[in-house]
């Protein structure tokens, strides 16, 4: 099992903030819009240095999405910032009609996604956003795993013409992917090669999958660990190539089982390569208040859950 050096421990939302600020310097077409959460989204540096290209939308997310759609007409690339809950569920019809159906070049940037939002509780912990967004035609859906990758993704999506949903989170997590990496939308990253089981993980669960890989290695199990930072378009070839070799699958994500990464992967496999699989995801439940770590354990999203699901699927492997 390959070892990954933790460079530091940082929140992915700060990767977004740094990436957006860098874009401010390099791409004059990039704009920022925020719905009264500038500090939480780490958009304050962009606001300070590019005040004429930043729009405070207030607590009015529906209007923010419409304004962003309009700003693309005339050639701009608006980045909207608010919590994932208010970036998706609250404004679904605005995104569907004014952005996705109209195929506008809006980048919907969503922080505090998932259960690791923590103490604010289930009202704010959206676990359905990947599903909502991936169902929309034209929408690209990205969920990077650490600070460096979120920064790279933030910059990379400016070069993609069309709507993008970029999901990141609140807590500080290990930052282990290369600084200034090249981010390719839709290209899965094989972190560790192994022949026994494929673990496909996204977002905060990628580091958990690496931790699980070390525990499994001690048991003599060689896991192939793949970072699926782009849920849509899914890297079908990367998934199928790995599963042809390993013949069993575990998916891991901070999302409902319904509609998330696992749902996309098992749909692909059912049609092309039926394979035993297990899912590490929230099982049709809302979250609750607690620390991010406590919640990850209680809702079955921890390293031990990945190990357990791997052992379970290995028993089913044919």
């Amino acid at each position: 099992m390959k070892t990954f050096e933790i460079q530091n421990v940082k929140d992915t939302r700060s990767g977004f903030g740094v990436g957006l600020h860098e874009l401010g310097k390099t791409n004059p077409k990039v704009l920022g819009l925020c719905a009264d959460l500038t500090g939480s989204l780490k958009m304050d540096a962009f606001q300070k240095d590019f005040p004429t290209r930043f729009f405070q939308a207030g607590v009015a997310e529906a209007n923010m999405m419409g304004v962003a759609a309009g700003l693309t007409i005339g050639g701009y690339i608006p980045y909207t910032g608010t919590f994932a809950n208010f970036s998706t569920g609250r404004v679904y019809d605005q995104i569907r009609q004014s952005i996705a159906y109209s195929n506008k070049n809006v980048k919907i940037c969503a922080s505090h996604a998932g259960i690791t939002l923590g103490e604010d509780g289930a009202t704010h912990q959206i676990l359905e956003d990947l599903g909502l967004m991936k169902m929309l035609p034209n929408m690209v859906v990205i969920n990077p795993c650490d600070f460096n990758q979120t920064k790279a993704a933030t910059i990379a999506i400016s070069k993609h013409l069309g709507p993008v949903y970029l999901r990141f989170g609140r807590p500080a997590v290990p930052n282990f992917t290369p600084e200034n990496q090249h981010f390719e939308i839709g290209k899965a990253i094989v972190l560790n090669e192994g022949a026994d089981v494929s673990i496909f993980a996204t977002g905060h669960l990628v580091w958990k999958a690496i931790e699980a890989g070390h525990i499994l290695a001690e048991k003599g199990i060689h896991a192939e660990i793949i970072n699926i930072h782009t849920i849509k378009p899914l890297d079908d070839n990367a998934v199928l190539n790995s599963v042809r070799k390993t013949r069993c699958v575990v998916t891991a994500e901070e999302h409902q089982m319904n509609g998330g990464l696992g749902d996309s992967i098992f749909q692909l496999l059912a049609r092309n390569l039926p394979t035993p699989g297990e899912m590490v995801a929230v099982n049709d439940s809302f979250g609750e208040s607690g620390t991010p770590d406590e919640l990850m354990i209680k809702y079955g999203l921890d390293t031990s859950n990945i190990v357990e699901k791997v052992l379970k699927v290995l028993a089913r492997k044919v």
Binding site: A62, N63, G70, Q94, R96
Partner: protein
């Protein structure tokens, strides 16, 4: 000086187009469409500086957004008669494989349409975005939008009204089709909305507010020109346009019945007989 007789002739022909389009596919929204025919005619044939060689970004030209997308027939007829696409294409309205979708859409690349609308309450926000884009581009042309007085019940509009005033979006002219009707009855009975209280509400939100008679070209032209002269002065402009749904077809006026119903053969014949035009039908 505008030739009002010619504008009236064009508006009458657009009304004929609308009724024939809706009749041909046995669906669509004729009442609000023909009620707004005079406004569309004034806008596209007199008020706006626009380019029928359509470009999505609309830089250095006036841009129009239809928020109440269900009155697409009057929008499509106006675009065709302004040279955006062939008149013949009006025959395809609401039919399979058409660029003329039931509600305006961009997916089929119909020239003149810049955003999908139909799910109500979204057009004003989009118009604000375009207006801000024009400011960033140092483009001094204007953004025009039309919305409905049923649609204004959607909360997003009021978010947009606050935002536009706060951000001094003064290159935007939003007109509301105040015909007082919505699907389930009169706007005043359903949500207490009238031409009078629209004016006081928008004034309190920090907009300039004008009134006009949507069936009188002199009123429309004078008011739209006044709205233009108010642009660039720090406030967005809102025009309360009084119209009658179904105007001037006698059996279509005075109720909400013709909001979303197509005329049958006899009703079409009756309506067309009230709309004589020397221009040619498509």
């Amino acid at each position: 000086m505008a030739d009002i007789k010619q504008l009236q002739e064009t508006a009458t022909q657009i009304r004929r187009d609308v009724l024939r389009m809706v009749h041909a596919c046995k669906s669509g929204h004729p009442g609000g469409s023909i009620g707004c025919a005079d406004f569309f005619t004034a806008l596209y044939f007199e008020i706006m500086h626009h380019n029928p060689k359509f470009n999505m970004d609309g830089i250095n030209e006036d841009v129009f957004i239809l928020s109440n997308g269900h009155i697409s027939p009057v929008f499509y007829s106006t675009l065709a008669r302004s040279g955006y696409f062939e008149l013949d294409e009006l025959k395809t309205f609401r039919k399979i494989n058409s660029r003329l979708q039931g509600h305006p859409a961009t997916a089929e690349h119909l020239p003149g349409v810049r955003i999908a609308t139909g799910s109500l309450g979204q057009g004003v926000s989009v118009s604000i975005g375009i207006a801000l884009s024009k400011k960033l581009n140092n483009d001094t042309s204007l953004v025009y939008a039309l919305m409905g007085d049923g649609e204004i019940q959607e909360g997003q509009n009021w978010e947009a009204f606050m935002f536009a005033a706060q951000n001094k979006v003064d290159n935007l002219i939003v007109t509301i089709d105040s015909n007082g009707q919505q699907i389930d009855g009169q706007t005043k009975n359903i949500m207490g909305i009238s031409s009078e209280n629209l004016k006081t509400r928008l004034l309190s939100f920090g907009w300039e507010v004008l009134n006009m008679n949507g069936h009188d070209f002199e009123s429309i032209l004078q008011t739209m020109n006044e709205a233009k002269s108010l642009s660039g002065k720090g406030k967005p402009v809102f025009i309360v346009m009084s119209t009658e749904m179904g105007y001037p077809v006698d059996f279509m006026m005075g109720s909400h019945k013709w909001h979303g119903v197509a005329p049958n053969d006899a009703e079409l014949e009756n309506a067309l007989s009230q709309l004589p035009s020397s221009l040619l039908d498509y």
